[in-house]
């Protein structure tokens, strides 16, 4: 990992090349150091997001989506987790570099983050204005007045009514949806190249969910920010994502351009997810749940982790882990039976 100053300058020359992604994650693995021993929760996850693109990480709760982004941003507790990767690069900078200096300069400035729980993610003892201005003052070195003016503009931009009055309010005076708007304003304060949204609407009412997604889409169009969207809302994925990465039990099981995924899902788990989602079920009257449950990180499985729940299972699935293999243009699946023939389960 010989990437410091030399790398930075190299990057300067490379920005013109369209293929250089904003964020590139290569072979990321995360282990939690638990009492019985290290438990692997994310295995060999790789993906890349280009400028202005939207990548969606999809999967059930507990499949390692949040842990993946927490690991990228160094938000996991260092003493309880171990992160390994061939590379995690943001605009060419190595985010796993020792000391965390690159990471700290990127957090909040190059990468903005929105969390799942708007009710608890804002500091209850600081006004929303202070919390937004803090980012601007620290990263952009704005003075108090300029930061405040900018914070009002940001609140206005995320459609908070009477922004100039609301700026001095504390988080408790805002509803969940409004708080999530404040979080979005905060994440976008420094015009980051990448916005990570970890299930931004899960904790909100259905009507508010749609509003937040609309807002995100609109802001992304204006700012050309790349978006890493973690969600299990396949409707939102269909509307927003360019590319989808499906995760199951800590591994990527399928990667596909958005158009392809809904038409030709190739991993049995993806098919199961679509079947369990009201928007994509062909028979509108009934949802088909995926039988069984997600294996716990500590569960021992020698082969494919989805095998115990898979309707397409064959002997090989229980002994060998299927690698992520190309099955079409930009389309990969980790299944021994891909491409699948749906008529032969």
């Amino acid at each position: 990992m010989d990437d410091t100053v030399a790398d930075e300058t190299a990057r300067g020359d490379m920005t013109g090349i369209a293929s250089e992604p904003v964020l590139r994650v290569d072979g990321l693995s995360v282990e939690f150091l638990t009492d019985p021993g290290p438990t692997r929760v994310v295995s060999d996850v790789s993906f890349a997001i280009g400028e202005g693109e939207t990548l969606s990480l999809v999967g059930e709760s507990g499949c390692g989506k949040s842990v993946t982004v927490m690991a990228i941003l160094g938000l996991l507790e260092a003493r309880r987790s171990r992160i390994a990767a061939r590379a995690v690069r943001f605009q060419g900078r190595d985010l796993l570099a020792p000391g965390g200096k690159a990471l700290r300069s990127v957090r909040g400035r190059g990468i903005g983050m929105i969390f799942q729980e708007p009710m608890t993610s804002l500091n209850p003892t600081m006004t929303v204005g202070e919390q937004i201005a803090e980012v601007l003052r620290f990263h952009l070195k704005l003075d108090r007045k300029a930061a405040r003016a900018r914070a009002i503009a940001l609140l206005d931009r995320v459609r908070i009514p009477r922004a100039a009055e609301r700026i001095d309010d504390y988080p408790f005076a805002f509803s969940g949806g409004m708080r999530q708007r404040v979080m979005i304003a905060m994440a976008l304060a420094c015009s980051p190249a990448l916005l990570i949204a970890d299930e931004p609407t899960t904790a909100l009412d259905v009507t508010v969910q749609a509003e937040i997604f609309d807002l995100l889409r609109e802001l992304q169009r204006e700012t050309k920010t790349a978006l890493l969207l973690i969600t299990h809302d396949l409707g939102a994925v269909a509307e927003m994502a360019d590319e989808v990465v499906v995760m199951y039990a800590g591994r990527i099981v399928e990667r596909s351009p958005i158009a392809e995924l809904f038409v030709r899902p190739e991993h049995p788990y993806t098919i199961g997810l679509l079947g369990a989602s009201p928007e994509w079920q062909s028979d509108k009257r009934r949802l088909t749940p995926i039988r069984g449950r997600v294996p716990l990180p500590g569960d021992r499985l020698d082969g494919c982790r989805f095998a115990p729940r898979c309707p397409f299972v064959v002997d090989r699935c229980n002994s060998e882990i299927p690698p992520l293999a190309e099955i079409g243009p930009l389309h990969e699946a980790a299944c021994w039976r891909a491409p699948l023939d749906p008529d032969q389960p």
């Binding site: 957090r107 909040g108 400035r109 993610s121």
Partner: protein
């Protein structure tokens, strides 16, 4: 409305306290008139004394008269010094107040700071070392620590005066030096308590979602600890500190005794030994009133620390 009911509660508490304080003298053994009479215990003298101090009246009448006077700031005459009790108490109060304040400042400086450090380094050797100190601070008796400090710091090293009192208005530096050891002794237990509370509150807050948000915003670690975490963690600690300040005022008896500081604690002990009941009553009543006031101040401090309490919101 919450404020009014709060105020009513305070008045009721003070009223009950006044009854208890008044009854104290009835429970204590010995006939006051005959103590005051000294050698000359002729019935005429006793009758004269009883009449002069109202001791011949029925008890409820005595109470009402005593309360009426107390409300006007007249807590009676000291039987021993033949001076108004209020004057005596008011002259000693600043001494104890200075001692307790310095003890509180010590306790906060040591307790809160070490609590933050222990929380930030939770589970490490630093945390464990601080934990040992907090157990020591909590379990070493005041009088033992006081005597030890006098022996080592004053007698052997000759660094600080062993006893006495100098008013800060006369010689601030000397006053500070004289109070240093007593304040440390008096505040040591509170420091240990505050450290424990700060540590656990900080650990909880450091794992909260909004601290994670602050990290994701790229804020430097110490800024997060001080600006984001500490303020939230201090909310429960402040109440404790304010309540304990009342304890410090009341608990200064032993410390004042060891370091011969002419404060309210020493006044109280002397008064008990000499059955100078008006002084005992006045000191207890004052302590109670101060305690209640501090309780109220703690609630007000809440409002500044936690904006959620400002509008009665949750």
């Amino acid at each position: 409305m919450p404020f009014l009911s709060r105020l009513a509660g305070i008045v009721a508490t003070l009223f009950l306290l006044s009854i208890v304080v008044f009854c104290l003298q009835l429970l204590l053994p010995g006939d006051i008139a005959s103590i005051l009479a000294g050698e000359d215990r002729s019935p005429e003298t006793l009758a004269a004394i009883s009449e002069r101090f109202g001791l011949d009246q029925p008890i409820p009448v005595q109470y009402v008269r005593w309360l009426g006077n107390a409300l006007q700031g007249d807590l009676g005459m000291s039987m021993r010094f033949n001076q108004p009790v209020s004057t005596l108490v008011l002259s000693k109060l600043p001494v104890t107040f200075q001692l307790a304040t310095m003890a509180l400042i010590f306790a906060i400086l040591i307790g809160v700071t070490s609590g933050i450090i222990a929380a930030v380094f939770a589970g490490t050797a630093i945390d464990q070392t601080l934990g040992v100190f907090s157990i020591l601070g909590f379990s070493i008796p005041n009088f033992w620590l006081g005597i030890l400090l006098i022996m080592v710091v004053s007698v052997q090293w000759g660094l600080l005066p062993a006893s006495g009192y100098v008013s800060p208005f006369v010689d601030p530096w000397q006053s500070f030096r004289t109070m240093l050891m007593p304040a440390f002794v008096l505040g040591s237990q509170l420091a240990a308590v505050l450290m424990r509370h700060t540590r656990s509150a900080m650990i909880e807050v450091l794992h909260s979602d909004y601290v994670r948000t602050a990290h994701a915003k790229g804020m430097p670690r110490w800024r997060i600890i001080i600006k984001h975490a500490l303020r939230n963690a201090l909310v429960p600690v402040v109440t404790l500190g304010a309540l304990e300040f009342g304890q410090l005022l009341g608990g200064s008896v032993l410390t004042e005794w060891i370091f011969t500081i002419p404060g309210i604690g020493k006044l109280l002990v002397d008064a008990v030994f000499n059955r100078d009941y008006p002084i005992v009553q006045a000191v207890v009543l004052c302590s109670g009133a101060i305690y209640i006031t501090l309780n109220l101040l703690a609630d007000i401090a809440y409002v500044f620390l936690d904006p959620r309490t400002r509008r009665g919101a949750t």
